[in-house]
């Protein structure tokens, strides 16, 4: 789908046509986004918000236009609920610091065993700093969040925040975030969604989900790296004291004290990554133009194709069997090291990811393994590419097995 928009897909790697199946790590940029960035730097570039001159006004208009595009994409009520950050990790770290004054002994912050380190470590560290208790919700044997355990923790009454990945970057588990929001709010807890892996191919409607916070990264939506979003319900964001200070976020500064801008600027200290935000706006518009449902369906189709194909390769084990899977799957091969698999695949031009996927509590804690290999197609991949990947994978695994001692 729309491969012609992505020139990098024609790249040759090690003498072979690139087969890029590492989209859960980062997606590629279409010409439309590359052109938007180029146009910005060729015609509009100037620092935003405080300038009177024409280029500053153009950049500001495009930057704030991008904010409205994100608002529309998330179905947020107001643009001031959209805070630009440098990515999901920055969003969640910032949120943890924003919420710090609310946390203390007797409070509980909960995450799940599925989480990427970005949605695990900031909360763990916040608990260490404040004396709040850090709880990790177990998974079912299939790799879904154990909702019984979550309910039981919420019923105990002192959960202040539960934060969960909408889609797992290892198992591909899709969690029922709207249901989670409902039970969190019934228990008086705030609910945060890590939407890094879901933003491109799930319904990410903050009003429908009714989450209090949501974070995602531009580089998983065909935008460049270095830009992301923290969504916060306005009524909640307004009560949080800024944690980064400096230019852009202040109103009046004097020795006696400082007053701050209104939302969202109050939470965006310093010169923002406005070219990145403008590119993000272009990327989200691009995805909308293709059709978000069409993209979602296509990506499900491709992932199912991977899943069906990999089940026919002997001695490979796919992690988890969640009720719903999206975006990626990860596998192990008995006696085979993912480093060897991914390295040999690369020498045939095929880009997979191996390692712990920044999910050590999941891999080590739940599955007792150190590393896995992950395949993550995007809408611009094809069944032919997946065939090439799986045929090569079968050959590579057989070759590696012959060398086992």
């Amino acid at each position: 789908m729309r491969r012609e928009d992505f020139p990098i897909l024609k790249e040759q790697v090690n003498g072979r046509q690139l087969v890029y199946l590492d989209n859960a790590a980062t997606t590629q940029l279409p010409l439309q986004v590359i052109d938007a960035m180029r146009d910005h730097y060729l015609h509009d570039n100037a620092n935003v918000h405080r300038g009177i001159h024409t280029l500053s006004e153009r950049s500001t208009r495009n930057f704030e236009g991008a904010r409205k595009t994100v608002q529309r994409y998330l179905n947020a009520r107001r643009p001031e609920e959209i805070v630009f950050t440098s990515g999901t990790t920055d969003s969640l770290n910032t949120l943890a610091r924003l919420l710090e004054p609310l946390m203390g002994e007797g409070n509980v912050i909960a995450v799940t065993a599925l989480e990427h380190h970005a949605n695990y470590v900031p909360w763990q560290q916040l608990c260490l700093r404040t004396g709040a208790m850090f709880e990790v919700i177990d998974l079912t044997p299939e790799g879904d969040v154990d909702l019984v355990r979550l309910n039981s923790l919420l019923e105990a009454g002192n959960v202040k925040l539960f934060s969960c990945a909408h889609v797992s970057n290892v198992l591909g588990t899709v969690s029922p975030v709207a249901e989670m929001a409902r039970i969190c709010h019934e228990a008086g807890a705030l609910f945060c969604v890590d939407a890094a892996q879901s933003i491109r191919h799930e319904s990410v409607d903050v009003q429908a989900i009714d989450c209090d916070f949501l974070a995602f990264s531009g580089h998983k939506t065909c935008a460049p790296t270095g830009i992301g979003v923290l969504y916060g319900r306005k009524e909640t964001l307004e009560t949080l004291r800024p944690v980064n200070f400096g230019g852009e976020m202040v109103d009046k500064v004097a020795q006696e004290g400082t007053t701050f801008e209104e939302l969202p600027l109050r939470l965006e200290a310093g010169t923002p990554n406005y070219p990145g935000a403008i590119a993000l706006g272009a990327a989200l518009s691009y995805l909308e133009e293709i059709g978000r449902n069409d993209i979602a369906q296509r990506e499900y189709q491709l992932l199912k194709y991977v899943e069906d194909g990999i089940s026919r390769i002997p001695n490979l084990h796919v992690l988890g069997n969640p009720a719903k899977r999206a975006g990626c799957l990860s596998f192990t091969g008995e006696g085979l090291h993912p480093f060897d698999i991914a390295m040999l695949m690369d020498k045939r031009g095929i880009a997979l990811r191996s390692g712990n996927q920044c999910a050590q509590p999941l891999l080590h804690g739940v599955y007792g393994i150190k590393n896995i290999t992950r395949i993550s197609p995007a809408f611009y991949n094809t069944e032919e590419e997946i065939d090439t990947c799986l045929e090569t994978l079968e050959m590579v695994c057989a070759l590696l097995r012959k060398a086992l001692r």
Binding site: N14, G15, H337, P338, F339, D340, M343, L344, K347, R348, S354, G355, N371, L399, L400, K402, A403, L404, R405
Partner: protein, 155 residues
């Protein structure tokens, strides 16, 4: 494998040149990495006890264990202390590279070890096996071999 037999009796640099020539003759990079995987099977596995005694060079995805001790005196024709190197990795590609490093360093005197500079990775397509981060890991392997050799052969 013929290459490993051919290396004995060569100086460190001559042996490295032979390794580079062998890899250049293997053709495409997939063939070179397949070769590494195939020769990795020649490396005897460390027991758990040997892993305990060895030095672990732990860099990211691939673990490397190195053990150095002097060769038995009877195996040194000129009576000089010479290196016996044990190497192990949990990944086959690195195991293959380690086998080549073992072949380069095995039986060398301390003087030869300290003067040696491992260049065959840089001079072949194998450097692509090691990103900048992993190349630092690779340099750590070389440093660890030299440091352990010093301890083993000076005593």
């Amino acid at each position: 494998m013929q290459l490993l037999d051919d290396l004995s009796g060569l100086s460190f640099d001559e042996a490295q040149d032979a390794i580079v020539r062998e890899f250049e003759s293997l053709g495409d990079v997939f063939g070179q990495y397949t070769y590494l995987v195939e020769i990795s099977a020649l490396l005897p596995a460390f027991t758990d006890e040997e892993k305990e005694r060895a030095t672990l060079v732990d860099k990211c995805q691939s673990q490397v264990w190195i053990h150095a001790e002097p060769l038995p005196a009877s195996e040194s024709a000129d009576g000089q202390p010479r290196l016996s190197l044990g190497v192990e990795s949990d990944t086959l590609i690195v195991r293959g590279v380690l086998l080549l490093m073992q072949a380069l360093f095995q039986g060398r005197t301390l003087q030869e070890v300290e003067a040696a500079k491992v260049t065959f990775v840089d001079r072949t397509d194998l450097k692509d096996a090691f990103s900048d981060e992993r190349l630092n890991g690779f340099l750590a392997i070389e440093r660890t071999i030299k440091s352990l050799a010093r301890t083993a052969l000076e005593g």
